[in-house]
């Protein structure tokens, strides 16, 4: 243990200890904190008629909050008339079934596969009303006009989701999520159903063609490389200021310290 004795008096020893402690705490915290995105899939399988199967799934996974007949409880809203699009959005983004009810339910790995999602949607749709799941053609980004989509996005979406769809804060702990993972279908469904804090953009406000344009803008923007280097999260000047201070001023101070450093005195060898 002699090296510890020797090292602990070095000038950097204190910093090293603090750094090590921070690392240990960070790793420990990451290990202990619950993983919201690794929920276990319930093992519902088998195939019947979609509606019947969907009802079975609903009873299993949803009814405890939404009520035995989807009529809603004090914990969760009624699902009568919300339509298949809403179910498809909530379940395929993993938001439903929710793990715990905070200000907003986060996106996570979906619990149900595509078929089960369809069955659930069919069951809720059978209870009456609501928009259906859009067709592949309706959400095809390749047929959308990205330039028009950009204009619509800046006028209707950027105020919450940020100019590049990086997300932003809303009131009361809610937030507009980043659009980096949303599929074209989910973007369309979000617009017609208005999940959580989001308003509904129905087909008279934003026509189906305009919705396709917005989808084209979102998918192109997120796929587009950053010509100027790292995008710094595409959150605007806050990140730029942080980098300017930490990297820019940081490096310059290091350079200044280096340039003005005194040569360490060499020990006299002979005399």
């Amino acid at each position: 243990m002699k090296w510890i004795t020797a090292w602990r008096r070095r000038p950097w020893a204190g910093y090293a200890v603090v750094l090590a402690a921070l690392a240990i705490i960070g790793v420990a915290y990451a290990g202990v904190s619950p993983r919201t995105d690794q929920a276990q899939a319930s093992d519902a399988a088998a195939s019947q008629q979609d509606v019947a199967k969907g009802k079975a799934l609903f009873n299993q996974a949803c009814s405890s909050c939404h009520g035995a007949n989807a009529e809603g409880t004090k914990n969760a809203p009624s699902l009568l008339g919300v339509g298949a699009a809403s179910v498809d959005f909530q379940v395929s983004t993993g938001r439903m079934p929710a793990m715990n009810l905070g200000a907003q339910v986060p996106r996570k790995k979906p619990i149900f596969n595509e078929e089960q999602t369809r069955q659930l949607a069919a069951y809720i749709a059978s209870l009456g009303g609501g928009p259906g799941v859009p067709s592949k053609d309706q959400v095809n980004p390749d047929t959308g006009d990205a330039a028009m989509g950009g204009k619509l996005f800046r006028a209707n979406c950027a105020q919450c989701h940020n100019f590049a769809g990086s997300g932003g804060a809303l009131t009361g702990g809610k937030y507009a999520p980043p659009l980096d993972k949303a599929t074209p279908r989910q973007i369309y469904e979000a617009m017609i159903t208005g999940p959580q804090a989001m308003p509904v953009f129905n087909d008279t406000t934003v026509t189906p063609e305009q919705k396709r344009a917005i989808i084209a803008y979102v998918t192109q923007t997120r796929a587009e490389p950053n010509p100027g280097g790292s995008g710094l999260g595409r959150v605007g000047p806050v990140a730029e200021g942080l980098v300017g201070w930490l990297v820019g001023i940081g490096l310059m101070v290091v350079a200044a310290v280096w340039l003005t450093a005194k040569k360490p005195k060499k020990k006299q060898q002979n005399d």
């Binding site: 008096r9 200000a103 990205a146 330039a147 950009g150 204009k151 800046r154 006028a155 950027a158 105020q159 919450c160 989701h161 940020n162 100019f163 590049a164 990086s166 997300g167 932003g168 804060a169 809303l170 009131t171 009361g172 702990g173 937030y175 507009a176 803008y217 192109q220 923007t221 587009e224 950053n226 010509p227 100027g228 280097g229 790292s230 995008g231 710094l232 595409r234 959150v235 605007g236 000047p237 806050v238 990140a239 730029e240 200021g241 980098v243 300017g244 201070w245 990297v247 820019g248 001023i249 490096l251 310059m252 101070v253 350079a255 200044a256 310290v257 340039l259 003005t260 450093a261």
Partner: protein, 556 residues
């Protein structure tokens, strides 16, 4: 310096110039000018060299930028905006970014240099403040610095506004609101500046002229004055062995300082070029063109305007209606008060300090911040005030990235903007006094040597060795203002002098007391005190640092 003849290349060049301009004597004298050698003395140079880069890259950008609000349809390399109606300003900025060779790099160099320019100006200003380097005879240069800082902020705002992208327009919209919030003349001021209803066609060309001509010219003139005054007055220095208030210690301008500062210039270029290469800044193509019906989450100004943005964000929505006119406190106060407090406060500070301490001496020593606890504490109070406002300007990003409620951040900053600076004041002062106490302790008792000695009675003690000469000189270099007393504050009967009467006199007296009440003496060194070995109990007890709450250490 060595006495050998200079290398032929230099000799020849100087000889050539000397034969024509009789310049050798001048150069010989000037090249011996001595510059202090401390890393913090180089911070201002970052600003200087960033400014050079700003001028050079700015000239490049003017070759293509069109300061015009005329509407054109974009048809360029960035296909995602194809067919969108934009202003010529935005169109030409997109062209610089995507169609001019090296244009994007130059734009990013220009913008990163601006960030670095303002950031280094701020750290340079803080260095000057905390070391008291603004004291006589350098007050005028301090004022020049404050003026440069202020107009540099304006210059940055104008540059940020020129491309007419979504963030530019949002910033201009706030500028409009600020102008209009000024009572009585607001509307007139706004129309005078913008010439038309917002955004209008006049403002961008006007901004452009100010941005590329007026302010850079002013800055250049002030930079020259700043440097010439600095050269003439010589740099301050930290206390140290063999240094005095009347001499400057350091490296000669030629060749050592010149080489160092050139290296530093290249470092600045490298850091800015590196940032511009690897980190995207102000991606106006992502922001999109400005239209008054659009807004984006994360609408922030560049960092140096952040404290104003923060003030605006945490300001309660107060308005009063007087005789049919609305007074918008909610815009006017955040726009004018923090800026006014900080800039005016900084500008008058040297004179307040002189007035309060009665100290009119020439100061060529830079104080160590701990040795001026009141000043340092006031400085940290301002830093806390500024920093909290600055953070509040990014509250939506903070709320989003750290998963806290947006309103919670607003309320947090509303309270801490009052409490935070107060805490900063007292904590800083305690730390300064603690550090002074530590210095005094090192001087009086020496440095822990790590050697353990056992006394005959069985007691273990650690042997202290006296501080090295260099270290002791630094510690004793405290500017021993004889605790700057106001002359004749009271006569022998306790009657205050005329100058100390009245409200102003009382303020002065209180300030005077604030500047120097709990100084820790360091001049007890070398009065026959045992520097090594054990000290007896009564000496330990008489050491007032631990027990006396930072009051003066008794001499022993």
């Amino acid at each position: 310096m060595s006495t050998t003849t200079p290398p032929k290349a230099i000799d020849g060049a100087i000889g050539y110039a000397d034969e024509r301009f009789a310049i050798a004597g001048f150069l010989r004298a000037k090249s011996k000018k001595v510059f202090g050698d401390h890393w913090s003395f180089m911070l201002g140079e970052i600003a200087l060299y960033s400014f050079v880069i700003l001028l050079l890259s700015g000239v490049f950008l003017t070759l293509w930028f069109k300061p015009s609000m005329s509407e054109v349809v974009y048809h360029g390399s960035y296909t995602k905006l194809n067919g969108v109606s934009v202003s010529e300003a935005y169109d030409s900025t997109l062209r610089i970014s995507f169609d001019v060779r090296g244009g994007l790099l130059m734009r990013q160099i220009h913008h990163w240099a601006a960030v670095l320019f303002l950031a280094s100006t701020m750290v340079h200003l803080l260095r000057i403040f905390f070391t008291g380097a603004y004291r006589k005879p350098r007050e005028i240069n301090w004022l020049i610095g404050i003026v440069m800082f202020t107009i540099a902020i304006l210059e940055g705002l104008f540059g940020y506004s020129l491309p007419d992208d979504l963030l530019s327009g949002t910033g201009l919209r706030i500028t409009q609101g600020v102008l209009q919030s000024i009572p009585l003349v607001g509307t007139y001021l706004f129309y005078f500046a913008f010439g038309d209803a917002f955004p209008g066609h006049d403002f961008i060309p006007r901004l452009y002229t100010i941005h590329v001509l007026l302010i850079p010219g002013l800055l250049l003139a002030l930079v020259v004055a700043h440097l010439m005054i600095m050269w003439f007055q010589s740099h301050t220095q930290f206390p140290g062995k063999g240094r005095s208030n009347n001499t400057v210690t350091g490296k000669a301008f030629f060749p050592v300082f010149l080489i160092k500062t050139n290296a530093f210039m290249l470092f600045t270029f490298a850091v800015i070029a590196g940032l511009a290469t690897f980190a995207q800044i102000n991606p106006i193509w992502l922001f999109g063109p400005y239209t008054p019906d659009s807004i984006t989450a994360g609408s922030q100004p560049d960092f140096y305007m952040g404290f104003l943005e923060g003030a605006l964000r945490i300001m309660p929505n107060w308005e009063t209606n007087l005789w049919g006119h609305t007074v918008s406190w909610n815009v006017m106060i955040p726009a004018l008060v923090p800026l006014g407090l900080i800039m005016t406060g900084a500008a008058v500070w040297p004179f307040i300090e002189q007035w309060a301490t009665g100290d009119r001496k020439i100061h060529n020593f830079a104080d160590r911040p701990r040795n001026a606890p009141f000043r340092t504490a006031v400085g940290m109070t301002t830093v806390a005030f500024y920093g909290l406002l600055w953070l509040a300007g990014g509250n939506d990003i903070i709320a989003d990235k750290f998963h806290v409620s947006l309103y919670a951040t607003t309320w947090f900053f509303r309270f801490t903007i009052v409490i935070g600076p107060v805490i900063a004041f007292f904590v800083t002062k305690r730390i300064c006094l603690g550090l002074q106490g530590k210095d005094a302790d090192v001087l009086h008792h020496g440095v822990e040597s790590g050697k353990i000695m056992r006394l005959p009675n069985g007691e273990f003690i650690e042997v202290h060795e006296p501080a090295s000469e260099e270290e002791a000189a630094v510690l004793q270099g405290k500017d021993l203002l004889p605790a700057p007393e106001l002359e004749e504050a009271e006569d022998e009967n306790g009657v205050p002098a005329p100058s100390a009467r009245g409200p102003l006199g009382k303020v002065r007296k209180n300030l005077n007391r604030a500047f120097a009440p709990d100084e820790v003496s360091v001049d007890g060194h070398g009065e026959g005190h045992h520097e090594t070995g054990p000290h007896d109990d009564e000496q330990l007890a008489s050491d007032g640092v631990e027990t006396g709450g930072g009051k003066a250490i008794s001499r022993h």
